[in-house]
Amino acid sequence: MEGSDTYLIRPNHQHKFKPAVVKECIREIVRERLSGMRYDPEEVPELSRSLADCIKDKVKNAGFDRYKLVVQVVIGEQRGQGVKVSSRCLWDADTDNYAEDVFMNLVLRCGGFRKLLLLRTTGWMIFFR
């Protein structure tokens, strides 16, 4: 049975991508790292990179065999501006999927000044033979 793995053209149920599991991975890491954090342009580049790496590593070890993984983190400062993110994929809808989490942070500072942090994290999983 193990030898025949090479010829699998579909993931078996146990190893098939489960969006809810991945969404929970993202949510957990994002809440842990970003709660109470305010937008700081000096820190955000490093923060966004390390978040993406951290989520990739966690999902990689979640047991979805034969999946390639793409994680994207978008962090923006909220100053009342409009923002819209869209995505489209060309893939096998039967095996491939994605999970997404949106996080918004409101931080009250002295004098009531506030800075909001808006973050959208998406993980895409692509099955390969």
Partner: protein
């Protein structure tokens, strides 16, 4: 099977991020053109940009699956950052991110190309 091997060995089959860069820029310019940021149009713009990019990529007939994302943000002095982390075959798979802006908005498009086999 032979076809796949030819694709993998020939450079025209591999993901070309420079070529993709050009495709993406053209799609953004065709959709947004000289318009200013508009709340009423932004949903249509982002959808239209990702769909056009995907259509152009598919036309190349390469053995890839694609993920295309587009973020449009109105300019108010606020910062925007994106970061990617991928677990894939670095020899075959690739990505490309294009930053575009005009007087009133930023547009950031990312393309991820993942080899089928």
């Amino acid at each position: 099977m032979t076809g796949m091997e030819e694709y993998q060995n020939g450079s025209e089959g591999a993901f070309n991020s420079e070529e993709t860069d050009g495709i993406v820029k053209e799609c953004i310019e065709n959709v947004v053109a000289g318009d200013d940021y508009s709340q009423g149009q932004v949903n249509k713009w982002t959808a239209s940009i990702v769909e056009r990019c995907l259509t152009q990529l598919v036309k190349q007939g390469k053995p890839y699956k694609y993920i295309v994302t587009c973020a449009v943000m109105q300019k108010t002095g606020a910062g925007l950052h994106t970061a990617n982390s991928c677990y894939w075959d670095t020899a075959m798979d690739g990505s490309c991110t294009v930053r575009w802006e005009n007087r009133t908005m930023y547009c950031v498009v990312s393309v991820f190309a993942v080899a089928i086999a």
